[in-house]
């Protein structure tokens, strides 16, 4: 029998239960328990005074590169990076090699994760075979293997008819559909936000319209089909406006925002540093304001990283030829706490935790994201005021592609537990 744990006098923030109080939290046999039950029993105590005790954080948008590209990241290394960032659950995207478009690949990842990952690894299946946007993937077979959502992330189904049928079909399995919103004709070979800086630098522009037009399509398809659509990594202010209007009309449309899209702008590309290249791209200061506004007013309900590891030699090339994507798991909580809670005061700390726990758990119907008695004891202890400096060389990821190296942040996870087991501590 594992030794019971008692987290002493932390600020317990459990948005799913509207709980925010200084109290003790007990873990017995890997589950949340009543602290009173520990009286008179041997247990280990962890002093949490001045710290926040939260449900384990969930990142619903990561790329762990297995199968196929283990040199960038493995399920094991990605999971360790997640734990170090305060995440107890991650949701992996299907653009691996081969892509996650069959029951056997889902099973392979599940087996590998069970053996090697120190956090919970949830799997998404492709909407279409090979993420090619044409024929439907075997959604039913993958649902049986336990995928939590469908997405062609990295790609976007261009044919509206195909997307409509996919949404109708997914409803049968109660699977939400997540979408990387990008119109290929409008975006073309764009590598950075189309605007003043792309004009000055002579780099092909990726217009915000290329995202917004697909968000609008998704609003209308979600209304027609009734299947929830989650718009991934929204980068443009216009997308937030479309989402706000759709949600006001009761359409089952949600959106997520990644840390880099509010921490950086397209001007950073002046350096031609490919760690500022991701898809969708960094946008203008005005977009940043509208994204933060969308988080503040509740339009945006989920935060995620789009953790996308790439090797140094792959990124150290001409800007136009570099792959899109940056690391995120170990810096996202710090970036969001620093900007949203401390500097901009856009949202409260409990709200930020809700965007990382109760909300993603509800969208994907995960039995996670709460500290209810009896729940699996996934717990993240956060020091919201800890000042630290990002050092990419301390990363647990196999890759080093972060634009935040050297950045000073305020707020960090200090301890991560999965099912009552400590998987990381600062």
């Amino acid at each position: 029998m594992k030794e019971p744990l008692l987290f002493r006098q932390g600020r317990i923030i459990d948005p799913a239960n509207h709980r925010d109080e200084i109290a003790d939290l007990a873990i017995v046999e890997g589950r949340i328990a009543d602290p009173a039950a520990l009286e008179g029993r041997p247990h280990r105590e962890i002093d949490c005074r001045g710290l926040v005790v939260a449900p384990g954080l969930i990142d619903i948008h990561v790329h762990f590169r297995e199968p196929g590209q283990a040199a960038k990241e493995t399920i094991a290394t990605g999971a360790r990076a997640a734990a170090a960032g305060g995440f107890t659950s991650v949701v992996c995207m299907p653009n691996t090699s081969p892509t996650v478009d069959s029951a056997s690949v889902v099973r392979w990842i599940n087996d590998k994760a069970r053996e090697e990952a120190c956090v919970n690894v949830y799997i998404t299946g492709a909407i279409t075979r090979g993420i090619a946007g044409e024929e439907l993937a075997p959604i039913g077979s993958m649902a049986k293997e336990g995928i939590v959502a469908l997405t062609d992330d990295g790609h976007c189904v261009q044919n509206h008819e195909t997307m409509r049928r996919a949404l109708e079909y997914a409803r049968m399995f109660d699977l939400p559909v997540m979408d990387h919103c990008q119109d290929y004709n409008l975006v073309g070979k764009g590598v950075m936000h189309e605007g003043y800086w792309s004009t000055v630098l002579g780099l092909p522009g990726w217009p915000a319209l290329g995202e917004e037009i697909i968000v609008q399509r998704n609003a209308q398809l979600a209304e027609l089909c009734g299947t929830p659509i989650h718009c991934q990594h929204l980068s443009s202010g216009g997308s937030v406006r479309i989402l706000r209007e759709a949600r006001a009309r009761g359409i089952p449309l949600t959106g997520e925002i990644c840390p880099h899209h509010i921490a950086l702008t397209d001007e950073a590309v002046r350096s031609f540093d490919t760690n500022y290249k991701m898809n969708p791209p960094l946008r203008s200061g005005r977009d940043v304001e509208e994204l933060i506004g969308g988080i503040a007013d509740g339009t945006i309900t989920i935060l995620a990283s789009d953790h996308a590891p790439h090797g140094e030699f792959e990124k150290e090339v001409e800007f136009e030829q570099a792959p899109f994507g940056i690391l995120g798991l170990e810096t996202e909580l710090g970036v969001f706490l620093d900007i949203l809670v401390h500097r901009r005061k856009a949202i409260s700390l409990p709200r930020l935790i809700e965007l990382y726990t109760a909300n993603p758990a509800r969208l994907l119907k995960l039995e996670r994201g709460t500290l209810s008695p009896g729940a699996v004891a996934d717990v993240t202890v956060i020091n919201p005021d800890l000042e630290w400096t990002v050092d990419k060389n301390e990363s647990f990821s196999r890759s080093r592609n972060t634009p935040f190296h050297g950045r000073e942040l305020k707020g960090r996870a200090v301890r991560t537990l999965v099912a009552g087991e400590e998987v990381w501590a600062l």
Partner: protein, 310 residues
């Protein structure tokens, strides 16, 4: 002033003083070209690699001749015959050149930022001979050199740059150079190829060539590339010529002393009437001649600062 840059990768990063210093140095080298013996020993013992990962005739030969006249040893390398076609990265190719103790690398590349990428990673001097749609610094320098030569100064002149601005590195480098030297700049072309974002750089944008003909002291016509038409930036070459070509009729409305420039290669009958291109007001071939002096200046100034670690 003393020149401290080992590289010339953009005009944007140069100060007005640095541009003037380059132009003055070029003027001195132009004198050398009038002598019987056109060669000086300024870069004797230095090795220059002309690394052209994109096709070019005029610029490559101009750099090659400039290097010869400075007594440097020159090796030419085209992408089609280099290991880039075997998948070797730009960084590895360049590091190999450096391991061979190349002192100066002149780079032409289809990607914006490529010259800067190399400059940041090598001890050798890197001269940008055109990086994607970003910059073509020596072209802008030879353009302002030519204007200065013909008109005494760039300051206060109104320069119209006409054509495919969006995809033009020549336009971007010219905008930076002209504004730093005090010219007024108007960009002219179809609205699809001259987006309004340019205005924030401090220039005017016009979609009617008639608006600039009478006011311009210089018209710089850019090459129109047929592939733009295929991507629906404008309907046809004929319509482009009708709306924006410098025809005889339009040329008559120019000021008598207006200069007609073109970075080449020209499409006769498209952006410029054939006869106008050959007329007395055209300084197109002066630009080519001046390019040599400007490139000698760039190689000389940067080549003395760069250091190969070996």
């Amino acid at each position: 002033m003393s020149w401290t840059r080992k590289d010339l990768v953009s005009i944007e990063e140069l100060s007005r003083e640095e541009i003037v210093h380059l132009l003055e140095t070029a003027a001195a080298f132009k004198q050398v070209g009038t002598r019987d013996i056109k060669k000086v020993p300024a870069l004797r013992g230095k090795t220059l690699v002309n690394f052209f990962a994109e096709p070019s005739t005029r610029t490559r030969i101009s750099f090659e001749l400039a290097a010869f006249r400075l007594s440097a040893d020159v090796v030419n390398m085209a992408a089609s015959t280099s290991s880039l076609t075997k998948g070797e990265s730009l960084k590895d190719t360049a590091r190999n050149l450096e391991a061979l103790l190349a002192d100066i690398i002149v780079l032409r590349h289809s990607c914006a930022g490529a010259a800067r990428f190399l400059a940041e990673r090598l001890g050798a001097s890197v001269i940008n001979a055109g990086d994607g749609a970003h910059e073509h610094p020596t072209q802008a320098l030879l353009d302002v050199f030519t204007i200065t030569e013909k008109r005494g100064s760039v300051e206060g002149l109104h320069v119209a740059i006409i054509g495919d601005i969006l995809f033009s590195r020549v336009a971007r480098s010219n905008i930076h150079a002209l504004l730093k030297l005090g010219a007024k700049v108007t960009l002219v072309g179809p609205s699809t190829l001259v987006p309004r974002h340019f205005e924030k750089m401090g220039v005017c944008v016009s979609h009617r060539i008639e608006e600039v003909l009478e006011a311009a002291d210089v018209v710089n016509l850019l090459r129109i590339q047929h592939e733009r038409q295929q991507k629906a930036y404008f309907p046809s070459i004929g319509e482009y010529n009708a709306l924006f070509g410098l025809t005889r009729e339009r040329a008559r409305r120019l000021k008598p002393d207006a200069l007609i420039m073109h970075p080449g290669p020209i499409n006769r009958g498209v952006e410029i009437d054939s006869g106008i291109a050959d007329s007395g007001r055209s300084v197109i071939l002066d630009q080519v001649t001046n390019g040599l002096a400007v490139r000698m200046a760039a190689l000389y100034l940067c080549g003395r600062v760069g250091s190969v670690t070996g």
